[in-house]
Symmetry: C2
Subunit: 250 residues, 2 copies
Amino acid sequence: TIYTVTPTYTRLVQKAELTRLSQTLLHVPSLHWVVVEDSPVKTSLVSELLKRSGLRYTHLCTQTPKDFKLQEGDPNWLKPRGVEQRNLALQWLRENRGPSDEGVVYFADDDNTYSLRLFEEMRFTKRVSVWPVGLVGGVRFERPLVERGQVTGFYTAWKPNRPFPMDMAGFAVSLPLLLANPAARFHLSAQRGNLESSLLQALVSIEELEPRASNCTKVLVWHTRTEKPKMKQEDALLLKGLGSDPSVEV
Amino acid sequence: TIYTVTPTYTRLVQKAELTRLSQTLLHVPSLHWVVVEDSPVKTSLVSELLKRSGLRYTHLCTQTPKDFKLQEGDPNWLKPRGVEQRNLALQWLRENRGPSDEGVVYFADDDNTYSLRLFEEMRFTKRVSVWPVGLVGGVRFERPLVERGQVTGFYTAWKPNRPFPMDMAGFAVSLPLLLANPAARFHLSAQRGNLESSLLQALVSIEELEPRASNCTKVLVWHTRTEKPKMKQEDALLLKGLGSDPSVEV
Ligand SMILES: O=c1ccn([C@@H]2O[C@H](COP(=O)(O)OP(=O)(O)O)[C@@H](O)[C@H]2O)c(=O)[nH]1
Ligand SMILES: O=c1ccn([C@@H]2O[C@H](COP(=O)(O)OP(=O)(O)O)[C@@H](O)[C@H]2O)c(=O)[nH]1
Ligand SMILES: [Mn+2]
Ligand SMILES: [Mn+2]
């Protein structure tokens, strides 16, 4: 089973993002979607979408502590995003899966783009498998460098001295490894860029990483980001009490 | 058959966009994807992607005339986008399909988000079927207004006086109607916002529009747009001759 962990939060494009991601995942055999809302309650938008998705899923929620939550107007990179949501998914796995369960855990943000081949690459992961990520870190792609089948370093331009200079989309972890290391988790307090490392340092060394995607030469996942839609006319109409019908879900 | 016409052009996110759109379309029965590149030649990126997609498709190309092509730095709305590409698809349909062929034609940009239900709503279109579009025109959604099963007007805030104030994603046209009106096409010279109208005025009147999606009360398609990825580090590396390996396709 591929446990695909997706943190998500309420915003105008949320339903669109989850809709297209669910369509991708629906092509993947033996997948279990763990969707964790950054919210104090499970919203009906996400609940209904999951119910209709045709996917096997678990729906959780936990709100990011206020001090760590991005505020309107903050640049995106100011605070880590989706941290406690991913940790709640880890907790759920530890409470609901045991030594006899096989599987791999992948952290799939709601806005990235995933090829179907990616999921086949990660399916057989002993400890931690890795591959390139497109359109991230200010370069066309970041990737692990591989020599004779072993990861020896990383191609990355941004903060190359990070312990594991990889994006969240660039690795998957075996479920047994996570269960065997019950303290491994993401650290809210990790320095900018070190969130991935805060989990991985508790699980593997660089030499143990398992390169996938033809020795990390193929881009099978893209760190796409969706524009925030402009609501100029809507805001103007709202001021006049003429906003669009709020009973229509978007 | 649903002929889904997608204009597309070379840019960093192109492969990501076409990848996730192809995954959506792969769920839709009896679909034929007409992909038209804005390029003087068919690129290998798009050719290979189509070959591997598992979809029934036709691959065409035509370059937007230079005077009408957006230049680096132009705001997006300055010029119409994808016009001659969609017209080439119409020409292909007229040359390769005949009076005995049933079908419906939908213009699906490569960056929007489509629910699967949308395709079932359009499948049986007599002339032109219509529905709401989310996240467009500066409002949460635009939509046709329906009274007793008939379209009587439109909810839209931007240029409400357009003949058909609808986005490209908000309608589908029956193939026989297109074949019966061989001069109907998109006009490169249409005023901003009137591109859709330039086709539709040659095909139907507002009273003839067929409302779908529960009398145009459900949003089943979203006008999402993908951020242009920042390539700050890549540009700096390129100046030093150290850009990322160009043989890796992104
Ligand atoms: O306040 C927030 C912001 C983001 N996210 C989720 O965390 C993940 C990463 O966020 P985002 O894509 O905005 O960050 P990026 O890595 O693109 O900068 C996504 O799945 C978001 O839905 C969240 O749960 N709460
Ligand atoms: O120079 C261009 C710009 C855009 N497009 C295509 O035309 C459609 C509409 O463009 P875009 O999504 O950029 O416009 P929007 O409606 O979002 O402003 C998309 O399928 C693009 O891939 C194109 O073929 N050539
Ligand atoms: Mn993201
Ligand atoms: Mn678009």
